[in-house]
Amino acid sequence: MSASSSRLRFRQPSVIPGFGLTLGLTLTWLGLIVLLPLSALFIKTSELSLERFIAIVTATRTLHALQVSFGLAFAAALVNMVFGAIVVWVLVRYDFPGKKIVDALIDIPFALPTAVAGIALTSLYAENGWVGSLLAPLGIQVSFTPLGILVALVFIGLPFVVRTVQPVLADLDQELEDAAASLGATRGQTLVRVVLPSVWPALLTGFALAFARAVGEYGSVIFIAGNLPGISEIAPLLIVIRLEEFRYADATAIATVMLVASFVLLLIINRLQRWAELRGSKHG
């Protein structure tokens, strides 16, 4: 065996130069920006004994906060996936006056300071607010309940779905739908059997981004949530509370659980998306 063939098949021969340099930069950058703070988190957590860690994490208040954060983030991402897809459909497929303005409005939740969004939503949905006063007679209370958290998370997550799916749907060949129709498919069948599978990977990416954003959201939620422990208290808020009580290890323990859970969920979504994409294009 010659030296070259016994080397790891790590680096494929390529016409694109600079693999070593760019990989080095990438790893350094990722290390500095992402891994360093994360490992600090784990190191801080490791100061706790295992029993203590389990006690903190399995405390009723912690469990409930985590449940609220992940459950509502998941629900909000689902809502955004459905309605975001409809918004994308309208923006891509139809021409109407004011389309440019609607398109620009989508990005507002990106740019708006989350606290502003939280205050605005709270005043809207409070019992004496414009929307809240309409819902109150129906017995629906939004502000200061988990429903309010959902509203805030939907608000901040929408642009993620729209902006990931929009270019994919815009690039979708119109001929595919013509072909389906010529083969006798109804509009509904075309949508379900042809359009949806084609944008499905993008929809999943949008879902993952909206979900990730919602799990960590703090600013807009704390105004509208009411923050009742065990009812409408989110995990990021609980972390802040622990920090204010100088219980740093407690805070990092909760953060670690959030981090690991988020990572696992995103990894699952990523696999799902790869699988959906593979089914569509390159097989081998």
């Binding site: 001929e175 013509d178 072909a179 389906a180 010529s182 006798g184 569509g280």
Partner: protein
């Protein structure tokens, strides 16, 4: 199925894609719509399919109004230029699509679908690719899948939009013959859109030559080549030598010299004399009315062509003349040209 297109006009904003087009396609025919891009041939095909609606005019299938039916209800097989295969389905499912979307009384049991799809895959000779996805296929294979998918709904009309446009020359030629063969085996009326004259002439029973949203000529491949109805058809199909002449008092002139050629009934005024390069003989310059100077001689394969510069009525004109084998022609020499067959059109 007979297809009647009557007085169809279609405008895109101010551009007239089709201008009062009428055409009858007979049962079992293979008709080629031939024209340069922008001639309206694809628009006409899409109107027949029901993917586009005309601003005015009628389309009838076997005498029945087709415009009141949507593309779904017309039962036409359509093969798209870029195949439009469903990327997320394998070959089998692509072909089965038209059968799977059927509802109610038309719905087929799974076994019948499998049998039909396998039969079609066998027909287009790609049974062994059933499990592959479109991204794993070559252009020619995709073309066959697209065709099998279109045939799955047992259409009486098969419409093909530039079916060989994206294939390389060798595969194109092979598929062309195969398609002709397939058309003869199936009880189907086929309409093919192409900008490739060779394809249209080789494949079609009748060729419809289109230009600028109008039909220029309809005829058999032989007719449109040998007897072009308009200067446009002469220019577009086959190679053409064009001389800018003039008709004066019933005689043809080129650059002030009488040619002694028949003006073919063209009225006085500027005219174009058109001929195929192989219908023009080289002659002694002193004995022929048309003469000019050889600029260069080129050889490609079995043919040799000379660029000859003539003196037209408005400045010099360069034409390409066929040079017979065994004749030496040095650049700079004077040659005469004698058209054996030619066409005269008013310019």
């Amino acid at each position: 199925m007979t297809i009647d297109v009557v007085g169809v006009t279609k405008r895109f904003k101010t551009f007239a894609a089709l201008d009062n087009v009428s055409l009858t396609i007979r049962t079992g025919e293979l008709v080629a719509l031939l024209g340069p891009s922008g001639s309206g041939k694809t628009t006409l095909l899409r109107i027949i399919a029901g993917l586009e609606w005309p601003d005015s005019g009628e389309v009838r299938f076997d005498g029945e109004d087709a415009l009141s039916r949507s593309v779904r209800e017309r039962n036409v097989g359509f093969v798209f230029q870029h195949y439009a295969l469903f990327r997320h389905m394998n070959v089998f499912e692509n072909v089965a699509f038209g059968l799977r979307v059927r509802r109610g009384a038309d719905k087929l049991p799974e076994a019948a679908i499998r049998a039909k799809v396998n039969e079609l895959l066998h027909l287009v000779q790609i049974d062994w690719l059933a499990e592959r996805y479109p991204a794993q296929l070559s252009g020619g294979q995709r073309q066959r899948v697209a065709l099998a998918r279109a045939l799955a709904i047992s259409p009486k009309v098969l419409l093909l939009d530039e079916p060989f446009g994206a294939l390389d020359a060798k595969v194109r030629k092979e598929l062309r013959r195969w398609l002709r063969h397939l058309h003869e085996e199936l009880p189907v009326t086929s309409v093919l859109v192409t900008h490739d004259q060779e394809e249209a002439l080789e494949l079609a029973d009748r060729v419809v030559v289109m230009g600028h949203g109008k039909i220029e000529q309809v005829g058999s491949p032989g007719e449109v080549y040998d007897n072009p109805a308009t200067a446009f058809v002469h220019d577009f199909i086959g190679e053409t030598i064009a001389l800018p002449g003039e008709v004066k008092g019933g005689a043809l002139y080129l650059g002030g010299r009488a040619l002694g050629l028949d003006p073919q009934g063209v009225a006085d005024g500027p005219a174009r004399i058109l001929a195929r390069p192989h219908d023009v003989d080289l002659a002694d310059p002193s004995a022929s009315a048309i003469s000019g100077k050889v600029l260069s001689v080129r050889t490609f394969g079995p043919t040799r062509r000379a660029d000859v510069q003539l003196n037209g009525s408005s400045g010099p004109v360069v034409v390409e003349a066929a040079v017979p084998h065994g004749q030496d022609l040095a650049p700079g020499t004077e040659v005469g040209l004698k058209p054996r067959r030619y066409k005269v059109f008013a310019a």
